[in-house]
Amino acid sequence: MMNFIWLIPFIPFLGFLVLVFWGKYLSKRTIPLVGVGSVGFASLITILAGINFLSNPPANDFFELKLWTWMNVGGFAPSIGFHFDALTLAFVFVITFVGFLIHVYSAEYMHDDDDYARFFAYMNLFVSAMLMLVMADNLVLMYLGWEGVGLCSFLLIGFWYKESANAAAARKAFIVTRVGDTAMALGLFLLIIHFNTLDIHEILQKAPVQWAEGSSIATWAALLLLGGALGKSAQVPLQTWLPDAMAGPSPVSALIHAATMVTAGVYLIARNHVLFELSPIAMETVAIIGAVTLLLAGFAAIAQYDIKRVLAYSTISQIGYMFLALGLGAWSAGIFHFMIHAFFKALLFLGAGAVIHALHNEQNMFKMGGLKKELPVIFWTFLAGSGALAALPLITAGFYSKDQILWFAWSSEKGSPLLWAAAFFGAFVTSIYTFRMVFITFFGNVKTHVHHSPGKMIKIPLIVLATLSIVGGFIELPHNFGHITIFSDFLSPVLPEVVLGHEGGNTELLFQLFTGATGLVGIYIAWFFWFKNPSIVYNLKTSSFGKSLHGYLINGLGFDWLYDHAFVRPFTWISNINKNDAIDLLYTGIANGAQGLNKSFSRMQTGNIRWYATGIVIGLIITLAMVLFL
């Protein structure tokens, strides 16, 4: 059975090929069959492989399938091969299953679009590339998948390319992630030089032997790989592309920028955990970046008025939580939060997309309102997702995953009260902006009426994801609360246990209470400021201090402004100087010189006989002189 895992990335790729070459000729009924069916088929095989994996686990807890050798250059011979272990299974499950639900949703969402086939082609290519990324057994193949998802992200963000703003957003995404990709490539080069192979399994075995713990070389390798992860996962300082990437259709935002591509960085760090553990500095950096990002993005989300941008900043913030978890050494907690986050964030994006679609492309939250009655299914599913995001206690899956991270921020060996305080305050802010969004969009007076209600294919994925957002957390309950550790046991052969700094059995309950309380207090504050007395916020916004603060927050805390002045303007200034292309001057100079010579020579043809006679005489004189004197 396991020999068929190569079908998992291949079938979506086949779907992509079919849609690219014959998409023009297929009817609007066949296209979603191909597009959704391919991902559905892949998820089916994933489930079969998963059952097989869980029922009789292979030796060494992983399964390797080498298809063929990709290249053989001077002893460096990466293969096209797949490495399938628990971590892979977790990611593949999320990608195919959530991906399948999103494809079903987009079959109805994008139905009226002319480029229906192109959309599904790109989505299938994306799923295929992402699966390649997580299933690769060597870093070169993973880099192939990495670049593939970057390409598909570009293509899908700029899907409606006829608007130049969308194309600009796609370019911005590609260029910013390119910076990260370059750092990652440098990291790969470093690894090749030292290990002469990029096979992940081999590297993870050789690294502790060859590199001492805390050595600078290990730190460099880890930090360079971290650079790549920062780009793809939109963390500080490379987070500026994600809010603008909301220019793409909502299913794209759900799939790529919530559930899968932005978690590629998380996967990278988790997969190479041995390298990161060799370098405490790198781990600290990961944790600090995670903490800073989650706060920054949380504050930016409070000020947004576009519903998708709130969710974009929310994604940045939640991935900050995952990075924090990884930096603390709580590997399985980070992966657990990834899985739960995939469920509720995809749900929230799909729900937001349904709202936007129903209101005929209205994205400004302040123009919505009172949709609770008009779109009931969407409202309840959205509420479930928001509860998971805000980590409402006990009933949502988000509570369990976020609570774990907060607990480990305090009690892990690498944790510190400062990191816990940041995460705690971040949870508070998360709850505020989440329910601000809910109250403004769904409660109050109706400002825009619903044009057409969503159909079955939109509602069903929302319901499935809402259910998962609620019950998904029950596979990992904390120690003092039932102590179900299905998920961490599942991942334990691959990822090491978190090392606790100091035992704090009793304090764990206290922390859980704190976390639960923040969720509820946040709801109250959101209700108070944006539902009951919106005038307070309005007055604050129009005061001079409020205006500048609001402007600062709404523009992502000035990162765009900084990058524009530090990088973009000098570059365009230099390009302007070279507008006439100095190198080109050489070639046009030759042409212009020849033309000038031509002009001066053609002035010699005056048609005047006396001038020609003079020419003859001068020639005669010169020839005579040459004969006589030379």
Binding site: T614, V617, I621, L624, A625, L628
Partner: protein, 173 residues
């Protein structure tokens, strides 16, 4: 001999200079004829009597007469008078004069680099010229004949006036 040569040379040069500076075409031509006659005398002094005669007969007699015919046919004389007076300013002839001077200096350099030789005054009789012409240079004679014929035909063809009215046998109905 020497004095005769010098006087004749002086006359030739003066006549030539006058020929190129006259505004009236007929005056210029007449000066040219004087120059040719002077040169014929020099040729005679150099021991080429046949050639001297040929010069007067062909050059001064035929070619210059041809010139005069054309000038009179085209009624040139009156026209050029006014124009030439404007065109005799130094600006026009200073360039050619410099060029000619340079050429002349080069030629003198060539001439003077030879050793000084005195010319004999013995004549080369027409008989010798004739024999040489028709034995050694027979090919040249033939070519000159062809060239003259080409000249005749060319001159006739070029100066033909196209008749506007065709002969009645050549008209197309």
């Amino acid at each position: 001999m020497m004095i005769l040569f010098l006087i004749t040379a002086f006359v030739a040069i003066a006549a030539s200079i006058l020929a190129i500076t006259r505004t009236n075409a007929v005056h210029a031509l007449l000066n040219l004829i004087v120059s040719f006659i002077a040169i014929a005398i020099i040729l005679f002094l150099l021991g080429a009597p046949f050639i001297a005669a040929l010069e007067v007969v062909v050059y001064a007699g035929a070619i210059m007469v041809l010139f005069i015919f054309v000038i009179m046919m085209l009624n040139v004389g009156a026209e050029t008078e006014e124009k030439k007076s404007k065109w005799l300013s130094p600006k026009i002839w200073i360039g050619p004069a410099i060029l000619s001077l340079v050429l002349f200096l080069e030629l003198t350099y060539v001439v003077l680099s030879e050793s000084e030789i005195l010319l004999q005054s013995s004549q080369i009789t027409p008989k010798e010229v004739g024999i040489s012409l028709f034995t050694q240079y027979i090919l040249g004679i033939e070519l000159v004949a062809i060239m003259l014929m080409a000249g005749i035909i060319g001159a006739y063809h070029i100066s033909r006036v196209k008749r506007k009215v065709k002969h009645r046998f050549l008209k197309e109905e």
